[in-house]
């Protein structure tokens, strides 16, 4: 499956901005089953400086500064990404307690890489309430892949999608209490649950293809930034789950970046001089090429 993705972010500032310093995570990762064939970033006004780096987690990040006065900033990322189908979901797997127990002693590169996602991160503090919620799915001796699907299904069932209920700063504790939120909240919540059981879980930022109602044309710009999570299971590697839709990501999910939580990989961030209030407009278009 190959997609052409256009991700357009526009800031309209109430007062002119004289200087802006931005970092964007809009360049899709290339990994075992996903290849980023092309990537182009266009910024208006034209940036004074621009640099590209690979961050600590292996994500591509672009930095740029705009050093002329502006009251609007438009960031457009265009990419072409091809996807292989996901590996079939493992039928067997180690008991979840075994994973939690063995990981601290695993000093292989894969083990060390996974282990860092067991711990607290700036936006996710594990705690007994999360462990208790997860406990219903993570019963004694249950294989990790099976328990994981069960927890994903429960979050999908028991939480309500509500784009008005939360914002980018809503803590997982509140999401657990109120039982509503958006994709980012459900990903944070499920990560908090897993880390509270000392299981390694990372946050994935990406895109989700949407389908128009039958008989209607595809609406350009109606697709969305999306977020889900990935869990390390020794023997199988990282397993992606999407609690918002209760699916295992495969041919409709394109991965942009991953990190410990949203804060590590927020698609667009910046520090500006001036501006005060702003209006933000985001449009994503995901066009299948074959």
């Amino acid at each position: 499956m190959t997609y052409r993705i256009v991700h357009r972010t526009t800031y309209k500032y109430k007062h002119p901005v004289s200087f802006g310093n931005h970092a964007v995570y809009l360049n899709p990762r290339t990994d075992e089953r996903q290849r980023c064939e092309a990537y182009q970033l266009t910024v208006d006004p034209l940036p004074a400086t621009h640099s590209e780096r690979t961050d600590y987690f292996g994500n591509r990040v672009s930095f740029f500064t705009v050093q002329e006065p502006h009251d609007q900033l438009a960031i457009e990322a265009r990419s072409v990404v091809s996807l292989d189908p996901a590996e079939p979901w493992p039928e067997h797997g180690p008991a979840w307690e075994e994973v939690a127990r063995s990981l601290p002693g695993d000093t292989t590169p894969a083990g060390l890489d996974a282990f860092q996602f067991v711990f607290e991160s700036p936006r996710i503090r594990p705690g007994p309430d999360f462990a208790e919620y997860a406990g219903e799915s993570f019963t004694a001796g249950r294989p990790l892949p099976e328990a994981l699907l069960d927890l994903t299904a429960r979050i999908h069932r028991e939480f309500r999608y509500d784009s008005k209920a939360t914002n980018v700063r809503t803590p997982p504790e509140e999401v657990l209490r109120e039982k509503k939120g958006v994709c980012q909240d459900f990903a944070h919540l499920q990560i908090a649950c897993l880390r509270s059981l000392r299981l390694p879980a990372r946050y994935v930022s990406g895109y989700l293809r949407t389908y128009p109602p039958p008989g209607r044309p595809r609406l350009i710009g109606a697709d969305a930034s999306h977020a889900w999570l990935s869990v390390y299971c020794p023997g199988s590697g990282w397993l992606d789950v999407d609690p918002t839709n209760n699916v295992v990501p495969s041919q409709s999910h394109v991965t942009l970046a991953w990190g410990r939580d949203y804060g590590d990989v927020s698609p667009v961030r910046g520090v500006i001089l001036g501006g005060r209030d702003h209006k933000l407009d985001v449009a994503v278009d995901m066009e299948p090429l074959e």
Binding site: P16, S18, F19, N21, H22, A23, A48, T49, S51, R53, D55, Y56, F57, F63, T65, Q67, E68, P69, P104, T107, P109, L112, F115, Q116, V118, F119, E120, P122, P126, P128, G263, D264, R269, G270, V271, L273, G274
Partner: protein, 827 residues
């Protein structure tokens, strides 16, 4: 002899007595000092000490206490009796702490480099992964190796058997070396003879080496080094400014710096100055809101990127705080063998990191013997003393440890040694901790001979400057000739005459600009208020209507007058009280004076003591007491206005005419021009023929009644009032006077923008075209929609917009270092 000085016998056998093992006979290295002190006599010491304490207060040596309701600025507490360290003991400590610095520096290199210590199991991974001080954006970044750990502080304590132990390592942005230096200056001044005879190792060579090491970290020919401070609210701000002055580097806050083209610059009114090296006293996670903690205002956006580009060096390196955790202590002995091939010379206090199964079991079994601390300190989490736990609490703490073991360490509590502290003529025995410092000179490690000794505020084992402890100087008594280099210019050497000033930082210019604006704004508000408050209860009809017109001259977007019905005199009275006293209302006199004080506080080091004091007095000058009558409020305003004129007098007579003064005056003129324009606009908007009381009020507010009367006697005519308040260039309160001075001050500024100067000159030309002498301005009672009046009103409106844009452009050019928008010249 010693017995005379001792208040209580020093014989407490449960701790190590630094002065005298048996409580009365001094150890050999203390004996000469005690002899000298005894012969000096306690009265003489008391006299000298009183003088020294006065100097501490006058020099503003302070340490800020976070939880102190009195706020900041607590005088630095220091003890005149130094802590003495004999040569052989210092050699032992020095060898131990320099080895430790090398070891910690290598561990840091590995953590931010290849991370082999993790993959080979020498360092447990959670020490990084669970550690908020591990800054991932800095992993794999190449930096000058000697900036990794430029300076290290090691806290030492001595146990009962005489052994020194490391209590803590400070690798983030260690504080205290500046206070140690200040302590030395004070104590050696109080005890000059004893100091000279004791052959004490000097501190200055260490700071010279630090200065040289920092300069050597710069890439350019003449590197610019700055000291980055979080600002005056920080607990150790005094030390930051003291060290900056002593080392000869500018003291800057994050807002003074900017990153352009991946390089760091210091913003000054003269322009952007490249910065090569940053000695930071801001915790690293606060240093870059773009890549580190997003909510921080203390740092510089883009700093991490500039570091990665190799364009700036930060010392200590960003990320160095990761090894401050006590959780690393149990592993240092093994790491020393592995990395240095030698045993650890100075032991750490016994520490268990609970992330290891066996350590956790031991701690749970011995909870009552240890102190439990968070491995990765977070605000508000205090150590738990196991011995003080009740039964229920023991269970609760054990559960916490079991739930997230890697977040906790347990440490043995060292019974601290005691040293003599002088108090009211006698010596008392107090627990002590010695903070030592090690510097990476670029070619090796150098220890500060001595350090900062902290002693408990009372008997007992808790030593903390945050909790009211004292500090002491530490004298390393030497058996070799000592180097007596001084960083200060010797008295006998001639100085070069210098009338220039160093570049004015933009933030200071910004604050001075606003100091001028707020002082003038307060005066304009107070004058309007006084004029109205003295009348509002006495007038009716046309006069009252004119007071409402005067009320419209406040810069107030949300007046609190009723909107659903015509406002009464009573409504206006309440509104005036609110405009005078409501500190929560922006635009009120009270909040303006608060702002004046805030800005003045930022300028503490640039204002004279008299001026600073006036700013503080002003902040309370508009306060009214609940028992006061409304009729007394104008008297309060009189007092406030007197202080304000004292302030503007000092401004004129006591400040050198450098760029700082230009910004202060620019702010004042701009604000006065803005108020003047608003009042003139109000006047020219009034079309009824009952304007004459308003004319009277305006003259009073502008302090121009006498001028007017001397020229026109008592005939009040709008056109004559306009001439006095708008066009008369000899009246320091007229609009013309403000605009001419604005243009004049502005063109004296370095790198002023020609277009902005042109805009102000255009404004003056426009004003001159409105000469009341040639204007056909309506007499009272004339037709309401007179063209001249409408034209005048429109022109003033245009001037008002121009002043707003002009103020924005001055701010962009000099404070923001950004390009400005052209001011549209229309009319």
């Amino acid at each position: 002899m010693l017995a005379e000085l001792l208040q209580t016998p020093f014989a407490d056998s449960s701790v190590y007595n630094e002065l005298a093992p048996d409580g009365v006979t001094p150890r050999p290295h203390w004996a000469p000092f005690i002899d000298s002190l005894t012969s000096l006599g306690s009265d003489e010491l008391a006299r000298r000490w009183e003088r020294a304490e006065r100097r501490i207060r006058e020099n503003g040596i302070t340490y800020n206490i976070y939880t102190d309701p009195q706020g900041k600025n607590r005088p630095w507490a220091i003890d005149p009796v130094p802590f003495l360290v004999p040569p052989e003991e210092w050699r032992y400590i020095e060898a131990g702490i320099t080895q430790r610095a090398e070891l910690l520096s290598r561990i840091l290199d590995d953590i931010y480099g290849e991370r082999r210590l993790l993959s080979n199991g020498s360092l447990p991974a959670p020490l990084l992964f669970a550690n908020p001080a591990f800054l991932r954006p800095l992993a794999g970044v190449g930096i000058p190796p000697s900036s990794r750990l430029h300076i290290l502080a090691v806290d030492l304590a001595r146990s009962r058997d005489g052994q020194w132990w490391v209590l803590a390592d400070r690798t983030q942005a260690p504080s205290g070396s500046g206070y140690a230096l200040e302590n030395r200056t004070i104590v050696s001044d109080v005890l000059p003879d004893i100091f000279r005879l004791s052959n004490v190792r000097r501190l200055a060579p260490f700071f010279r080496a630090q200065r040289d090491a920092l300069v050597a970290l710069g890439q350019s020919d003449k590197p610019q080094v700055v000291l980055l401070t979080p600002g005056p609210l920080n607990e150790t701000y005094f030390e930051h400014s003291y060290l900056a002055r002593y080392l000869g580097f500018p003291l800057v806050e994050g807002a003074d710096l900017t990153v352009r083209d991946r390089k760091v610059f210091l913003k000054t009114v003269e322009g952007l100055r490249p910065v090569d090296v940053i000695l930071r006293r801001v915790d690293d996670s606060f240093c870059d809101p773009l890549e580190l903690r997003g909510e921080s205002f203390l740092g510089v956006a883009g700093l991490v990127d500039a570091v990665k580009a190799g364009n700036v060096t930060v010392a200590n390196s960003l990320g160095s705080g990761v090894i401050e955790t006590a959780a690393i202590m149990p592993f240092l002995a093994g790491l020393s063998q592995k990395l240095l091939g030698e045993p650890l010379k100075l032991p750490s206090v016994a520490t268990w990191w609970c992330g290891q199964e066996s350590a956790l079991r031991w701690v749970l079994d011995h909870l009552h013997q240890v102190v439990v601390k968070p491995a990765f300190p977070r605000r508000g989490v205090e150590p738990i003393f196991g011995a003080e736990l009740g039964r229920g609490e023991t269970q609760r703490i054990s559960d916490q440890l079991r739930a997230r073991p890697f977040e906790y360490v347990a440490q043995e509590q060292v019974a601290l040694s005691t040293a003599p502290v002088w108090d009211h003529g006698q010596l008392h025995s107090r627990s002590l901790v010695l903070r030592t410092f090690v510097l990476n000179t670029g070619t090796g490690w150098m220890a500060l001979p001595g350090g900062l000794v902290r002693v408990a505020g009372a008997e007992g084992p808790v030593v903390s400057m945050q909790k009211g402890g004292h500090s002491k100087d530490a004298w390393v008594l030497w058996d070799q000739p000592i180097e007596t280099f001084s960083m200060l210019r010797p008295r006998g050497q001639p100085v070069e005459i210098n009338r220039g000033s160093v570049d004015l930082p933009s933030r200071a210019a910004d604050n001075l600009f606003w100091l001028g604006r707020y002082a003038e704004r307060a005066e304009c508000i107070a004058r309007l208020l006084r004029c109205m408050m003295s009348r509002v209860r006495r007038v009716t009809g046309a006069q009252l209507a004119c007071l409402f017109h005067l009320h419209a001259c406040f810069d107030e977007s949300e007046p609190k007058l009723p909107k659903d019905r015509p406002a009464t005199a009573r409504d206006l009275e309440e509104e005036l009280i609110s405009l005078m006293t409501d500190a929560g209302r922006s635009g009120s006199l009270a909040s303006t004076l608060d702002e004046l004080q805030r800005v003045g506080g930022q300028l503490r080091e640039r204002l004279s003591t008299d001026m600073s004091r006036l700013v503080v007095q002003l902040a309370e000058s508009a306060n009214v007491e609940s028992y006061m009558l409304f009729s007394e409020y104008s008297a309060v305003l009189d007092g406030c206005l007197e202080l304000l004129s004292a302030f503007s007098g000092m401004e004129r007579e006591n400040i050198t005419r450098g760029p700082g003064w230009l910004f202060l005056s620019l702010g004042r003129r701009l604000e006065r021009a803005m108020y003047s324009v608003r009042q003139l606009r109000e006047l020219t908007s009034m079309s009824d023929d009952a304007t004459w009381p308003f004319l009277d009020y305006l003259l009073e507010v502008a302090d121009s009644s006498m001028t007017y009367r001397s020229r026109y006697f008592t005939t009040l005519q709008p056109v004559a009032v306009l001439d006095v308040l708008m066009a008369d260039g000899t009246n320091p309160r007229s609009l013309e006077f403000q605009l001419v001075h604005l243009a004049d001050l502005y063109q004296k500024l370095p790198r002023h923008v020609p277009e902005d100067l042109e805009a102000m000159r255009h404004a003056i030309t426009l004003l001159h075209s409105l000469d009341p002498a040639t204007l056909n301005y309506p007499l009272p009672g004339a037709t309401p929609d007179n063209d001249t009046r409408i034209h005048l009103n429109r022109s003033l409106g245009y001037l008002q917009d121009l002043l707003d844009s002009w103020a924005d452009n001055v701010a962009s050019t000099y404070f923001g270092h950004a390009r400005t928008f052209p001011i549209s010249i229309g009319g």
